[in-house]
């Protein structure tokens, strides 16, 4: 299993690119350590802004920098940057179309036993609801690296959610990454799993088990929640008897909602949604919580078997 986290991959890209680009600026709210951005801060102190524990200011300052042609990456725990800064994200970033990439670290239930204040189970819904915002949840370090390189090439707002711990590698250096196009990991005709972020490795293992049971299983890594890649969804689910969405998010307004919305209008399919429940979650490590809520490979396999 990889020991390189997605947040580390983000820092590595920024450190590399900043060698030749003095307009890259990283802004943190006492979060440089948890965001793995301390290396950037010490390597490029003049391109690093610390705002203290002040998430509204984090986003407002980022927008101001971006409006003066800086390429801004603002990093803070996903729970706070997505909703505590929501008003600033809506107006100063999304509506004003400023070149700010919001990096939500320790997303989903990464913080485990720290509880509901630190979980971000509504961030996809909140961010996707904003006109002008793009929302990404990459699975592994290779996809995260490619995504960051792509985002550095454009000047529009985006939100990326990454988890705290290292995710098992899904890809390798040869990843066939296309910006705003889902990665099709495998094709299948009985069931198609659609996952993002940390759920992708679990879905990959589940797909293997399902294949062993004689169930032809497809797997889509839908790292791009907005713009949502409907085209790949429709192509890959044409033959499917069952479509399964899998996400580390509440039931409303996330991956499952987008899959359901797209399919119901254009290509109706039987579908189940695997996600966190709309309730206060149990305490535990993220892995324990995934198992409890049926989001690990065994949970996914069981859900598919029950549904078929």
């Amino acid at each position: 299993m990889s020991t390189i986290t997605n947040r580390q991959a983000i820092c590595d890209v920024l450190v590399e690119q900043a060698k030749n680009d003095k307009d890259i600026v990283v802004v943190c709210s006492d979060s440089r350590g948890s965001a793995s951005l301390a290396t950037f801060a010490s390597t490029y102190p003049k391109q690093f802004v610390e705002v203290g524990i002040a998430e509204q200011n984090l986003v407002g300052i980022s927008a101001g920098l971006a409006s003066c042609n800086k390429k801004v990456f603002a990093a803070s725990p996903a729970s706070f940057i997505s909703t505590r800064s929501y008003e600033q994200v809506k107006v100063d970033v999304a509506y004003s179309n400023t070149n700010v990439t919001l990096i939500g670290i320790s997303g989903g239930v990464s913080y485990g036993a720290l509880g509901m204040t630190h979980h971000s189970c509504q961030d996809f819904a909140a961010m996707c609801a904003l006109t002008g915002m793009r929302v990404y949840c990459p699975s592994d370090r290779f996809q995260t690296t490619k995504l960051m390189q792509a985002l550095l090439e454009d000047d529009k707002p985006a939100y990326i959610r990454v988890s705290r711990s290292a995710t098992e590698d899904v890809y390798d250096e040869t990843i066939d990454f296309q910006f705003d196009k889902a990665n099709v990991i495998q094709q299948g005709t009985d069931v198609v799993l659609i996952a993002c972020g940390e759920m992708v490795p679990y879905a990959k293992k589940a797909a293997k088990q399902l294949e062993a049971l004689g169930i032809s299983t497809g797997l889509i890594d839908m790292y791009c929640l907005k713009p949502f890649d409907q085209e790949t969804l429709f192509e890959q689910t044409k033959q499917a008897k069952l479509v399964v969405s899998i996400e580390e998010h509440a039931p409303q307004g996330g991956l499952g909602s987008f899959v359901a919305q797209a399919l119901s209008m254009h290509q109706p399919k039987r579908m189940i949604q695997l996600c966190l429940p709309d309730e206060h979650l149990i305490s535990g490590t993220n892995k324990e919580m995934f198992a409890y809520y049926g989001l690990d490979e065994d949970g996914i396999v069981k859900a598919v078997q029950n549904a078929l």
């Binding site: 600026v25 203290g52 509204q56 200011n57 300052i61 927008a63 101001g64 003066c68 100063d92």
Partner: protein
């Protein structure tokens, strides 16, 4: 009468025309802030409507965005667009001159309207100037009612932390907001002490509707090193129209024909 005062009263007339034509807008605050805008746009700021993309232009943010009406009049007068278009279409169907500053309007730096955002954005703009060794200054205008927004205090801390002597905030202290006096609604008393405690250089302007006092304040602010400056401008809401002055009902009151005529007459008397 000096030129700036003349300009600010001519702009008052434009604002009254705009408010009467649209039956919308925030006329009370427009008339308290218009002298501040006049001084900044016609005396202080380095800004050129023909070269607005100039990276070295001074930056302006109207954080009290509901007074966009006044800003639209000023930008039109300053040559950013045909002023009559703003006056005639403000708040009307499919107009870009909506009730808040937005970047569809030439000369507007960033969208605003939700209170408590401008100062943080201004900190970012001022930081960018420092990073790039650029000389431009950033001016942010806020309302006194707006000072109840907590985000302002986050921005005040950061401006001081980074010694942003290229940042100048102005508080348009007209003492009134939609529900009553600022003291009744949420006291922002001793704004000077608040800013000073946060490490700002404070300039109080006794009459914030007096253009020359404002010019002095902004000129002094430019000399300040290491600290951001706040100009606390004590203004009169509805200034220049007798029945509007210091009346909360004129926060966004709509004039009838008689009131409109009286407002124009009173302004013309000053100009005569």
């Amino acid at each position: 009468m000096n030129e700036l005062k003349r300009k600010s009263y001519e702009l008052r007339k434009d604002i009254i025309e705009m408010m009467y034509a649209s039956k919308a807008g925030h006329v009370g605050g427009d008339l308290s802030v218009v002298d501040i805008l006049t001084v900044l746009y016609f005396e202080i700021m380095n800004i050129d409507p023909k070269n607005f993309e100039d990276p070295n232009r001074d930056r302006f943010l109207l954080s009290k965005g509901h007074c966009a009406d006044a800003l639209f009049a000023v930008l039109g007068e300053r040559g950013f667009y045909d002023k009559q278009e703003a006056i005639q279409t403000f708040s009307k169907y499919n107009s870009k001159f909506i009730g808040h500053p937005n970047t569809e309007v030439h000369g507007v730096e960033i969208n605003s309207g939700s209170l408590g955002h401008g100062l943080s954005i201004g900190v970012g703009m001022a930081l960018a100037a420092k990073m790039n060794d650029q000389e431009y200054r950033t001016y942010v205008v806020l309302g006194d009612g707006e000072m109840a927004e907590g985000s302002n205090y986050e921005a005040m801390m950061a401006a001081s932390q980074y010694h942003l002597d290229n940042l100048c905030a102005t508080i348009d202290v007209n003492g009134l907001q939609i529900s009553g006096t600022t003291d009744e609604v949420m006291s922002t008393a001793s704004l000077a002490n608040k800013f000073a405690d946060f490490g700002w250089h404070v300039i109080e302007v006794a009459d914030g509707n007096d253009c020359m006092q404002l010019v002095d304040a902004y000129t002094q602010a430019m000399q300040m090193k290491e600290k951001p400056t706040v100009v606390i401008a004590h203004t009169v809401k509805g200034k220049g129209v007798s029945y509007m002055e210091n009346q909360k009902s004129w926060h966004h009151g709509v004039m009838n024909e008689e009131q409109y005529k009286q407002a124009i007459r009173e302004i013309e008397e000053v100009l005569a």
